[in-house]
């Protein structure tokens, strides 16, 4: 095993109280981020591919929908929800919120969890 291929290679623990990092991300999902937010994002994005949230391109540069990598090669890739995302920034924020819920078990407060 090596770092590149070890799903457990990142040890950062997401602190559900760090809503400041959520706000920083929300302000600029695809921007340049602080070192602490970079660590959080690296942890969110790391892991075994199976089950990973991904965007399926409906129209290049225009429309995307959310799916997950299946457990087995050859299995179908269904969409996980009905939402058609029309910007990558919006998509990034949508996925961030889903992962925050999955990884911290907490729901973001309404005042910082709305759409961009």
């Amino acid at each position: 095993m090596d770092h590149t291929s070890d799903p457990g290679a990142l040890r950062y623990v997401i602190d559900p109280r760090r809503l400041d990092l959520v706000e920083e991300f929300r302000a600029s999902p695809l921007g340049v981020h602080s070192p602490e937010l970079r660590k959080l994002l690296a942890r969110m994005r790391w892991g075994k591919p199976e089950g990973r949230l991904v965007l399926i391109v409906l129209e290049p540069g225009k429309a995307w929908r959310l799916s997950r990598i299946p457990n087995r090669r050859g299995d179908r890739m269904p969409f996980v929800d009905d939402r058609v995302l029309t910007s990558l920034v919006e998509a990034e924020w949508h996925v961030f919120k889903l992962r925050w819920q999955e990884m911290t078990g907490t729901t973001l407060p309404a005042e910082i969890s709305g759409d961009l």
């Binding site: 090596d2 291929s5 994002l41 690296a42 790391w46 075994k48 990598i69 090669r73 990558l88």
Partner: protein, 753 residues
């Protein structure tokens, strides 16, 4: 519109075809017919925010509807031995076995050797069941096949000797497993005897197979073995399992071994697709779907890493259930390329025909037309990076890599082609991906559909390269196009007609012939405009016996998604070491002045001129631009001319001493990270905010006999050319270089070199 890009799939029999010659297309669809047109691509990028999808429709005899078959892909490699009944047990005793090193035990039975046919339920074979138990399966004259199973399981990635001794006279069979000692684990062995059925039916009437069973009599195979097999042998005399195992197969003059029916020595002909039988029966065989040879065997000592030095230590073949070299589809249509067609990137456009076509159904098969014998040559030739397109062909990095989303620093966007690959893995993946058993894919061939080498496909490599063609067309610069396959096959002769060669955005994979062809061309006065980044990086080869396949061995260095197993860095096809050209003494710097330094996955950068750029030798480059401009702080898709993968100047690695570093990158950040061979110890300060080696350098130098080289050192450079309707400083300096390089006035190397 959401396009369906995989309703039609296909591939050409040859990836490049000279004008005036023929190319055959193999197409497949669940739809009964396909409408075919031929396009010459100017820009294959459908993203509306770039230059746009631009092409010329070429009228050809292929235009119109063609009947189309639904042609399956059946992956999985194995050996086939025709035997005229010689490998059907007769008489009293029949003993057979092999060393095995299973790399995946799962899903279904994995055949080791035999002639078993699933449909007829005739024949016999050794196999491993879904849990790794050794099984003998054999047919009966009536009723279900008999299966005899050893209680003990084989373990993945542990060498074992499996065997079977049939005593047809006594009606018994003994299955045996011998696991030689390894590391702290002592040797182990077990065996078990069973009574044979009354009327075994051991003759399927079909060839003997290694690593697969027959599905039927139509050359279809199943139960492909994942793992290594070494030295299969068959005897027609009684031998206990250990005696069968230690028979070493070596021939002695004037001696024949009693009872020996066959002994396949895979160390013989490693660079071929033939397997040799050392017995007097000459039961030689052939390999299909390109399993990996030149792999360490049971007897590998660790004292050599090159199979050519001790082939006996490399007497194994690594078979994979998902090996695919040739889909073997029937030809759908043949294009006689008119002699007057311009060379370039071409594609079949495949759509649904009829009176009411589905407008969202649009697929492509890309091929390259090169100048014909009678074609008048342009002064400039673009060399398309087919080896690189193959290395990345059907890349599933976005689907299956642990690190990839962190690397890209955004949620991964999967084109529909990725979804297709997940749902149809038999299409075969790239040399960046791993087989289903976790071992890296060493081969990638064009005799199968390649989804990311098409318009509407993922842009990396081919689609990006067409941005350069688009710019050449826009500027009215006459050019020919050849591919690096011609460099591989014809060497420097392929470049000789041209004053200037141009390599595109990412010519990363180079064979020995390709590298030497360019060096010879440059030294003979040729001019080379190296437009890309991470260029001339991997040492690879086309397989001499499977010439549509590129072979890549990753080695243990470089930016890599898998590593070679210990001792398996040398190519099976040519024997030469794989891995990086840098580690074969021919770093990219030696060829074009710059070589791979870093990957950039956040913000792209731009260039600033250096003091060296004021040298009169390069004054032509910057005409019409300002001394302190930011060069390329813009660009389509990447937003900067310095990005994706970048290369730097290094005298120690071979940059010619007289080379001028005329510009260098600025603006790179924490997401700019060095390639692993650029540091020997991990320390703080490796990223682009601190690391001075994380940079792109723009380099110029003269070569012998009036030649010269200009290198940009960045993949994204080409996507800045079209910015502001092609009016920008990257376009300006590129045009300056092209014009000067096309000018026959010789370049002169400075006196002190």
């Amino acid at each position: 519109m959401i396009y369906k890009t995989n309703e039609y799939l296909g591939y050409p029999d040859r990836i490049s075809v000279p004008a005036g010659e023929a190319v055959r297309f193999q197409l497949s669809s669940k739809r009964p017919s396909v409408k075919v047109e031929v396009l010459r691509l100017r820009c294959g990028d459908v993203d509306a925010s770039g230059p746009g999808f631009k092409y010329e429709v070429m009228a050809s005899p292929l235009d119109g509807e063609h009947a189309c078959l639904d042609q399956p892909i059946r992956p999985g490699s194995n050996a086939v031995i025709d035997h005229d009944g010689a490998l059907v047990p007769t008489g009293g005793h029949w003993c057979f076995g092999a060393y095995v090193y299973p790399t995946r035990i799962a899903d279904n039975a994995k055949a080791v050797l035999g002639n078993w046919c699933e449909r007829s339920a005739r024949g016999y074979a050794l196999e491993l069941d879904e849990e790794g138990h050794l099984v003998l399966v054999l047919g009966q004259a009536s009723g279900a096949p008999a299966r005899f199973t050893l209680d003990v399981k084989l373990r993945p990635r542990v060498w074992a000797f499996v065997s079977c001794a049939l005593d047809l006279a006594q009606g018994s069979v003994t299955l045996s497993l011998i696991v030689p000692a390894d590391g702290v684990r002592p040797a182990a062995a077990c065996s078990k005897s069973f009574a044979l059925p009354q009327t075994p039916a051991l003759d399927s009437g079909l060839p003997f197979l290694i690593a697969a069973h027959h599905v039927n009599g139509d050359r279809q195979y199943t139960s492909h073995f994942d793992g290594k097999i070494e030295s299969p042998r068959v005897f027609s005399c009684p031998l206990d399992a250990e005696a069968l195992r230690v028979f070493d197969g070596r021939l002695r003059t004037g001696v024949s071994d009693a009872g020996l029916v066959a002994f396949w020595d895979f160390s013989n002909g490693i660079s071929s697709l033939s397997i040799k039988d050392l017995s007097p029966n000459n039961l030689h065989g052939s390999l299909r779907q390109l399993p990996r040879r030149g792999v360490t065997g049971f007897h590998w000592s660790g004292s050599v890493h090159d199979w050519r030095l001790s082939p006996q230590e490399y007497a194994a073949i690594h078979f994979h259930s998902d090996d695919i070299y040739d889909c073997e589809w029937q030809t759908t249509c043949t294009l006689d390329v008119p002699a007057h067609w311009r060379s370039g990137v071409y594609a079949l456009r495949l759509t649904s025909g009829g009176n009411n076509p589905d407008r969202d159904c649009e697929s492509y098969v890309t091929f390259f037309v090169t100048p014909g014998r009678a074609s008048r040559r342009a002064d400039l030739v673009v060399v398309a990076s087919v080896a690189t397109y193959l290395a990345y062909a059907n890349s599933a990095l976005r689907l299956y890599q642990v690190h990839f989303e962190t690397l890209m620093e955004h949620v991964l966007w999967l084109p529909q082609d990725d979804v297709f690959m997940q749902e149809n893995p038999e299409i075969g993946q790239s040399t960046y991906d791993c087989h289903v058993d976790g071992s890296g894919r060493a081969y990638s061939s064009w005799l199968r559909p390649i989804l990311n080498m098409r318009p509407r496909g993922y842009w990396f490599n081919l689609v990006n390269d067409t941005h350069i063609l688009d710019w050449l067309e826009e500027k009215g610069i006459a050019y020919d196009l050849i591919t690096d396959v011609e460099l591989d096959r014809e060497g420097a002769r392929a470049l000789a007609p041209y004053r200037v060669m141009m390599t595109p955005t990412h010519p990363e994979y180079f064979s020995f012939s390709m590298m030497n062809a360019i060096m010879a061309y440059q030294n003979a006065g040729g001019r080379h405009i190296s437009m890309g980044g991470n260029a001339f990086y991997w040492r690879c080869g086309f397989h001499p016996a499977a010439p549509a396949a590129l072979e890549v061995r990753r080695g243990m260095a470089g930016t890599r998604t898998w590593e070679s197993e210990p001792g398996e860095v040398h190519l099976a096809g040519t024997g030469e070491p794989g891995s990086l050209w840098r580690h074969s003494g021919f770093a990219p710097q030696k060829l074009v002045g710059v070589g791979f330094s870093a990957m950039i996955n956040d913000t792209c950068g731009y260039y600033l001129r250096t003091a060296e750029s004021e040298d009169a030798r390069v004054a032509f480059t910057f005409e019409g631009t300002g001394r302190h401009e930011k060069f390329g702080d813009f660009g389509f898709r990447y937003n900067g001319a310095v990005g994706s993968e970048i290369d730097r100047y290094d005298l120690e690695l071979g940059t010619p001493p007289h080379a001028l570093r005329i510009a260098t990158s600025e603006g790179l950040g924490a997401g700019a990270l060095p390639t692993p061979e650029e540091f020997r110890t991990v320390v703080d300060g490796l990223d682009g905010t601190q690391n001075a080696l994380v940079r792109a350098d723009m380099v110029f130098f003269e070569t012998a006999h009036g030649g010269a080289v200009f290198a940009t050192g960045s993949i994204t450079y080409g996507m800045s050319l079209g910015h502001n309707n092609y009016d920008n400083n990257i376009s300006t300096i590129t045009l300056n270089v092209v014009n000067r390089f096309l000018d026959p006035r010789p370049f002169v190397m400075p006196a002190k070199t």
